[in-house]
Structures are given as C-alpha cells and as structure tokens.
C-alpha cells in the first residue's frame, strides 16, 4: 500500500532569511488522521500551502497519492479538499451556492452534485440554513459549511488548517464530532494542523510536533507521552534555583527527568505519590522553600514542553493578533 502523503526534506524559505519549514520529512498512511501540532508561526500553514500547491517549496519534494506537488499540481488538486485557516466561504452567496459553485469547479455533473450537496449539508447540520446568505451564519456554521465544501468532490485526503481556530468551545466540539463521524463513515485520510492539544489528542492517530519549521517529535499521542519518560509530573516553584539543586533531585529514586523554566521545575516521575515525600525531604535538607507544588498526569502540553523547552501557549500569544476574525484580512 502506498502512502497518502510522502514528504521528503521539504524546505520553504522567505526572503530575506526566514526559514518557515526546515527540512521536514514524514509520511501519512491512507485512512490515517495525521496532526501537526505547533504554535502559530511554527510553519504549519506554510507546509499545508505547499502540499495544496499554493506555494512552491524552496527545496525537497512531496507527493499526494503518488502525484508530485510541483510536477503534477493539477492531479494533486483533484485529490484533496482543504479547509483553510481563514474563513474563505463567500458571505454574499448562500450556503448552497457556495457548495454548488465549488462542485462546478470540480466538474461534478448536476444531479450528482445536488445529491452530494444535500448529503453534506445534512452531515454538517446546515440543511435548514442552506438557502440563507453565509453573511447570516455564525463562525461555527461557516466553518461547518467550509468543511462540507472541502468534501464536495469526495477527496482522497482532506487538509484542515487550524479548523477550530477562533471558535467557541461548543462549536469546536461540534467540529470535532463531525470530523470523527466523517472519518468513521468514509475512512478519509485527514491532515490537520492545530495548536490545540486537546484537538490533536482527541482526533489524531499520529502527531508531529513542529517548532521553528522543524519536526521535533512524531508518533502517536500515547507513545509521545511515554517517550518523554515518566507518567506523572510534579511542578514545583522554589524560593531559589541553582544547578546543584536540580542535580541532586535528578538522582532521587523514581525521578525520570527535570525541566527547569525560571524558578519552576517540572519533575517527571514514575509515581507522584511516592516521589513527593522524598522530594520534599530533599528540598528541606537543602534549605529550599517550596512556593507552590502541583501534580498532574502527562499531557501533550508536557510533550511539547519536553521537546521545545516552552509552552505552546507562549508561542501562540505572539501571533494571536494575526487572525482578527472570520474573513478578515491578514495583510494590511
């Protein structure tokens, strides 16, 4: 069985010296939901734009269903659907018209096209609003319509670029349920980029963590969590931090790893209940006061911090003003 997507050493540079995607390679199997997790500006959208033939790579190659994105863009375009990060449906057309026109772009014959539109509008629960102008839709409805539009031609693979960005938690959950439903019904290959941990954890079979244009880790959510060692995390803020303190804590029984950020230590342990008393005793011996202490199970956030040394939200906050709202421009 061939891969749905094969990416080899792909690079995208923007003048004068920005490397948005830096030597990225991966493969996606047919029917897989593959996630790209990373903060804004990590290179996720640039990668999707290269894979959807909207941008040419500076170096490297990629294939969708065996078609080269540079040499055979027409064949590539016939095989994917895409839901872009920005809202891209025409707000002065109705929901039906939006789907109908895109169906015509793919030259789907009239009867088949209309049946398909009815089916998709039913799936995304927009049947009742089909003939209303998109301008009257909420952000969540518009997203669902765009999801339906991405599926109009029964694509081989669906690209979703931050599909739930800017949506309220309820609308986000509706989109997730929709994607799970579509996946279970069609076995569609889905490539999704997100900076929401929960989204990646819930939807993706495998996740690539991307930062500064590079893949820093790639595996299933479970394996990513396992691979960073330890199952519980003790986060402790101390009155003082010295390298000696970290070194002494590292050799305690059950401690797998320690990541320091400012005065806070994230201590990865096998079992927090057993490790905590030992840890507190050791800190007392060193005359170090504990300002606060929390214990939690490992999450993708921890995986991200483990590989990048920072929280995904730190990266996210840098570019949050980039998206003003649905349909709004990104360039001024």
């Amino acid at each position: 069985m061939g891969y749905a997507v094969e990416v080899q050493n792909i690079v995208k540079k923007f003048p004068p010296a920005t490397v948005a995607v830096n030597d990225v390679s991966f493969t996606i199997e047919e029917g897989e939901i593959f996630g790209f997790l990373g903060p804004n500006g990590a290179g996720k959208t640039t990668l999707i734009r290269m894979l959807t033939c909207l941008m040419l790579p500076t170096k490297g190659s990629a294939k969708i269903k065996g078609y080269d994105i540079v040499k055979e863009p027409s064949s590539v375009r016939m095989n994917f659907g895409v839901v872009s990060q920005a809202m891209t449906s025409d707000y002065d057309l109705t929901g039906w018209e939006n789907l109908d026109i895109y169906g015509k772009y793919y030259e789907i014959p009239g009867k088949e096209r209309h049946e398909r539109i009815k089916y998709l509008l039913d799936i995304v629960e927009l049947k009742e609003r089909a003939h209303d102008l998109v301008a009257t839709y909420s952000g969540g409805m518009r997203r669902r319509l765009e999801l339906a539009r991405g599926l109009i031609q029964k694509p081989y693979i669906l690209f979703l670029d931050e599909p739930t960005i800017g949506l309220d938690p309820q609308s986000r959950r509706v989109i997730w349920e929709l994607l799970q439903k579509i996946r279970s019904e069609t076995k569609l290959t889905i490539f999704i980029t997100t900076h929401y941990m929960e989204e990646a954890d819930l939807l993706c079979d495998r996740i690539a963590i991307i930062d500064y244009g590079k893949i820093v880790a790639l595996d299933s959510s479970t394996n990513l969590k396992k691979n960073i060692g330890g199952y519980d995390i003790i986060e402790v803020s101390l009155s003082q931090t010295k390298p000696e303190i970290t070194e002494k804590l590292k050799i305690l029984a059950g401690v797998k790893n320690i990541v320091q950020k400012d005065s806070t230590l994230r201590i990865y342990v096998d079992d927090a209940a057993r490790a905590m008393p030992v840890l507190i005793d050791e800190l007392k011996k060193m005359n170090v006061s504990i300002l606060y202490l929390t214990v939690h199970e490992q999450s993708l956030e921890d995986v991200f911090i483990h590989y990048t040394g920072k929280s995904i939200r730190e990266g996210e906050s840098q570019k949050v003003s980039f998206l003003i709202g649905p349909g709004f421009p990104r360039r001024f």
Binding site: L56, I101, E107
Partner: protein, 370 residues
C-alpha cells in the same frame, strides 16, 4: 464548465449588491451631466466691467454690440461702471473676468482714423475665459462700422457657406460617447481584477486556488463576468444618456448592434489590461489609487471631451495607443454618423489586437500560487 462557474460566482455576488449596481449606472450619468454643464462647449455669462469715458457714438455702438451679445448668445454679462479704478478693482477681486475701457476721444479717433484704441484688462489667471473674452471683443469690433446688414450679397466678397454633413449635435449629446466610455472604465474597475484583489484582501482566494481551476479558468472567468457587468452598465448608461439628451441613433438597430459590439470589445480589452496592472495588488486601496489615475490618463486624451488633433504631439502619440480613444471614435461614428463596419473597422481591429495581447499577457502573468 469551470469558467462558467467562475462567471456565475462573480455575477451572483454582483447581483447581491444593489448599491453597486445602481451606483455603477448612475455615476457615469452624473459625469455626463456635470461635464456637460461645466464645459458647455462655449463660454457663458462672462462678467465684464465696461467703462465709457468717451460717451461718443462709436462708444455707444460698442456697448450696443456687447449688449446684443449679452442678450443673444449670453456669452457675456456687462456691468457698467464709471471709473477705470472701480472696474479694475472688480477684476482684481475676481468679480469680473475683464474690464473694457473706452477712452476719452475714442469716437473722434475712429472718425479721423487715428488708430483708435480700447483698453481690455484681462484676468489672465483664467486662460480659458481671458482668451474667449479677448476673441469675443475683437469679433464685435469688426462690426463697429457696419451700420446695416446688406440685403443683397456683395459680389466682390468671398462668401463662406457652411454645410453640416450630419444632423445637428448639441454639446450635451456630443458627450454621450464619453459617458459610455466612462461607464466602460468604471465597470472594468469594479469587476474583473477588482474581484480578485478583494478576494485576496479577504483571504477568500486561497480556497479556489486550491481547486483544479487553471490560470485560464480564473482569468477568463473573471474577465468575462466583468465584460457582462460592464456591458450591461454601459448599455444602461447609453440608453439613459440618450434619453437625457434626447439623442436618437443615426441608423437604428444596426447602429445599436455595432455599439454593443464596440462596448464588449472595449470592455474586454480594458478588463484584460486591468488584470495585468492589478493582478498582483493585495489591497483595494491600490485599486482605488491606480483606478483614479488611469481614469484620468485614459479618459481625457480619448477625444471624448476635446479633439485629439488639438493635443500636443506627445499626448497625440499616447492617444494612438489609448484603447479609449478608439472606443470613443467608434462610438461617435456609430451614434452620430450612423457609421457601419467600413468606418469603424480600424477602431475594432485595434481594440481586437489590444484585447488579444492584453488577455494573453494577463493569463501568462497571473500568479496561480500565493
């Protein structure tokens, strides 16, 4: 089918915007009314201060001639004043465009042939008025000694007989082709490439650039929808301006068919040119700026308002390549002269070549990626 879908998308969006539809028809008509009433083709009601220091028979004769002009053509409006000082004050203030001073002993100098002189003080900051007034006064002076109108033609004088080849066209009607060309330009400005710039501005283009639409589908689809919108607008403006000016087509339905063809060809050429110029713009502000500039540089040297023959050589050279000049010539020939293919074939050939070149370049230079 794909091109048709691109056209359908643009047209549906245009039809959902009634303000745009009304404005795009009304604005060129307003242009016609405003231009028609601001230029009017000839000077009207030019205020002239007149001071008669002579009070002789020839001074009275000049004033009578000026009054005749005031009542007849209404080209001037006379203000009688007592002193040169008062008259010049009004000119300097801008209340009068000129002051005519008839000096003491003027009539006597006329009778004795002693080189009689009049003083005409002009507000030369307004060159159009000053040239016009100067010409009107000189013209009236030529009748200074004519006390009667001859009943029989004088056999020893060369007679000039005016023969108008075409039916009388008043100034407002003469602007109709200009209003149509203006409508064509405005149509090309709010459709075609403008839609693509707006899509880019809103980020919407990303979705259809990801579909199998080819460069040709996108460019041709957007241009053809623009042709439809522009032609509809221009024909509405044509009919509207003909109703306003009570103009009738010289050769009925055949003329109308040629008019539509000329409008379609002109719209196609200008829309393609716009695609080349604006295809890479990312912001509607760029369209506004470049559109305003192009409107002036294409419209005024087109011969719609002023004859191209009167332009300086460099502007004449520009008019040679200006598609609007060919459109105006063809439209004028069809509307006023009832001309057929034989007369307008040169214009149509140029517009066809221009369109072919522009459409090819527009498709070739269109950036299919982001």
């Amino acid at each position: 089918m794909r091109i048709a879908a691109v056209i359908e998308r643009d047209l549906r969006r245009y039809l959902r915007n009634p303000f745009m539809m009304v404005a795009s028809v009304l604005l060129p008509l307003v242009y016609l009314v405003v231009i028609g009433n601001s230029f009017q083709g000839e000077l009207k009601n030019m205020p002239i201060a007149v001071v008669d220091q002579d009070n002789g028979p020839y001074a009275r004769r000049i004033i009578e001639l000026l009054q005749a002009m005031q009542e007849g053509t209404k080209a001037i409006k006379i203000y009688r004043l007592n002193t040169q000082r008062e008259a010049l004050k009004l000119v300097k203030k801008g209340s009068c465009k000129a002051a005519l001073i008839i000096p003491l002993n003027f009539s006597e100098d006329v009778v004795r042939n002693l080189k009689p002189q009049l003083g005409l003080f002009l507000d030369n900051t307004d060159s159009v008025s000053s040239k016009g007034i100067s010409s009107l006064i000189s013209q009236s002076l030529s009748f200074l000694k004519s006390e009667y109108v001859p009943v029989r033609e004088e056999q020893n004088k060369t007679q000039l007989r005016l023969v108008e080849l075409f039916k009388k066209i008043d100034y407002d009607s003469s602007l109709v082709p200009g209003a149509v060309v203006m409508a064509i330009f405005m149509g090309t400005l709010i459709s075609g490439a403008f839609n693509f710039v707006m899509d880019k501005f809103l980020g919407v283009h990303e979705s259809y650039l990801s579909t199998p639409l080819t460069k040709k589908d996108i460019v041709a689809g957007m241009i053809f929808s623009g042709v439809f919108i522009t032609t509809t607008m221009s024909i509405t403006v044509l009919i509207g301006s003909m109703l306003i000016t009570r103009l009738k087509l010289a050769a009925g339905l055949v003329s109308f068919a040629w008019l539509v063809f000329t409008i379609v060809l002109s719209a196609l050429g200008i829309l393609s040119m716009m695609f080349i110029i604006l295809g890479r713009a990312n912001h509607p502000r760029v369209v506004g700026m470049i559109g305003g500039f192009l409107n002036v540089i294409f419209f005024f040297p087109s011969g719609a308002v002023y004859p191209i023959e009167s332009f300086p050589n460099w502007l004449k050279a520009f008019s040679k390549v200006n598609p609007e000049a060919y459109a105006v010539h063809a439209l004028k020939s069809i509307i006023f002269k009832g001309a057929g293919f034989a007369v307008i074939k040169g214009d149509l050939l140029y517009l066809a070549i221009f369109t072919g070149i522009m459409l090819t370049i527009a498709t070739f230079t269109f950036k299919r990626t982001m």
